[in-house]
């Protein structure tokens, strides 16, 4: 069942230039989709339609069974579709972790007695139990993003959008956050949308949408999209290192069989060959 179904979405911020030009997107329940593209390709603008942060100017969009065109659905959409943002510093409302996580719950008038248990459960889900009383601005980048995710998880949305959440993190923080996303995906209960310009991150998705110039230029399984170095280059991206290595070795006359997607697969392929 399609949880996100968008067709021919166009959007302009008003300067005449179209940021989105007939972009279409679709996600099935429980899958992780990756929107891949270089800076300024319209990825963020597209996902901001999913939770009605931007009004639908042109096209059709249904999210979790709700029509995004209807202004009345705005709040229900936002409840069904949570979002974690790029800059970890700019999404905290309170200077105490537990109050910040409660913020979303309070917005939906959750009964006061329920709030502490749900806050605790959300923090446990991102591996941040025990940080309830800490100040968000004193946490590491990865921890901040996990707290932000906990704030979203506390509302129990069907869909979670990750808007370049690793772009401003160090390698350690990136691993932490990607680990949590992977765990959520394994749980299979949420539909996850991940925006990124790191091809290596898109590997973990069930389906990849390639974007350029406000358009979805290609979609398919990570294997189809990410092993196509020419296609990626057309969209201003670089193929993952194992793919490049495979292509270069093949060009040098090493008859490898299957194009590897991850480092592990490359090692496997080379060992098999050796």
């Amino acid at each position: 069942m399609a949880v996100i179904k968008g067709r021919d979405i166009s959007f302009s911020y008003g300067s005449g230039k179209k940021t989105l030009d007939h972009a279409s997107i679709r996600a099935e329940a429980g899958e992780l989709i990756a929107l891949l593209g270089c800076n300024g390709c319209g990825k963020s603008t597209l996902v901001r339609h999913l939770n009605a942060l931007l009004p639908l100017q042109k096209g059709e969009l249904r999210v979790a069974g709700l029509d995004a065109r209807a202004q009345a659905n705005c709040w229900r959409l936002r409840r069904q579709c949570g979002m974690v943002f790029q800059n970890p510093d700019n999404q905290f409302v309170s200077s105490v972790v537990e109050e910040d996580i409660a913020f979303g719950l309070e917005n939906y008038e959750t009964p006061e007695e329920e709030i502490p248990t749900r806050v605790r459960a959300a923090l446990a889900a991102v591996g941040m139990s025990g940080f309830e009383k800490r100040a968000p601005h004193l946490l590491s980048g990865g921890q901040k993003q996990r707290v932000a995710l906990a704030g979203v998880l506390a509302l129990n949305p069907d869909i979670i959008v990750f808007d370049e959440v690793t772009a401003m993190l160090d390698p350690q923080g990136r691993r932490e956050v990607l680990g949590i996303i992977d765990r959520l995906r394994a749980g299979g209960k949420k539909t996850l949308v991940m925006i990124t310009h790191y091809v290596e991150e898109a590997v973990m998705a069930d389906r990849v949408y390639l974007m350029a110039g406000g358009n979805v230029t290609a979609q398919g399984s990570p294997r189809d999209i990410l092993t196509d170095a020419a296609l990626l280059a057309q969209n201003g991206l670089l193929a993952p290192l194992p793919v490049r290595m495979y292509e270069d070795l093949k060009a040098a006359g090493v008859p490898l069989e299957r194009c590897p997607l991850t480092n592990e697969e490359l090692v496997e392929e080379l060992c098999r060959f050796a």
Binding site: C38, N39, G40, S140, G141, A167, M168, D170, P171, Q172, G173, H197, V199, G236, L237, L238, L241, R244, M245, D248, L249, A252, G253, V254, P255, N263, E264, L266, V267, L270, C271, F273, A274
Partner: protein
Amino acid sequence: MPFCLEEVSFTYAAGTPLAVQALRGVSLRMEAGEVLGVMGHTGCGKSTLIQLLAGLLVPTHGRVLLDGQDINAPGCDRAALRARVGLVFQYPECQLFEITVAKDVTFGLKHSGLSPAQKEERVRAALETVGFSYERMGAQSPLALSGGEKRRVAIAGVLAARPEILIFDEPIAGLDPMGRERFLALVRRLNAQGTSIVLVSHNADALAQCADRLLVLKDGCVALEGTAEQVFADVEAARRLQVDVSTPRALGQMLTQRGVAVPAGAVTYEGLLSVLKERFCAGGNP
């Protein structure tokens, strides 16, 4: 011998209950024309180190020497120092403020004593170095550009002063693949022109590609120092210091463990590729 740190320590808020020691007795020598990479986990003292180099912080103990002269000595001309050492902070696009790109790039030349024509020439050259045309970009508002373009303008603003030593703090964070490649090409070009460069980054792949020497900091001390080949040789040691080794080196390690021996010196993509080519092409297989 442009730069020397002698037993430098630095403590923030020294003498208060909130004192934090950021650097402990760091000694360092940087040769002219070198590209020095600095790595380390968040909070290891990298930012403090580069601010000491740029003369923005004064060491609590020890000396910072530029051409053998203590830059914090009472008689030292700080303005002259700042003209010689350029520092590009993380997310430099946040520091743009002028109405036009040309004005913003000229900002650093205000006290340089150059004639307007000389200034314009400098600005033109700096913009061209980062890949912009003065005619096309000069009159635009820097604030209306895209993130990557803004960063290039900000870098041009530092280049205009023609520093001998350039320090970059996390210059590729948040850049897309094209932006990253463009930046690394810029570093190579500047270095070829004789500029010494300090690159602070978490990105081991980028450092392996362009740094002559790497410095790994841990808790305010120099924990490892050497070429990328030396620093990334011991994958376990690097992990203990909370830094990544470059992806090709990690692949080499995985292959070695599986019986396909790859020398530890293969730390770049090209290095690993040639090792693999040699092994698999010349090794009897067609």
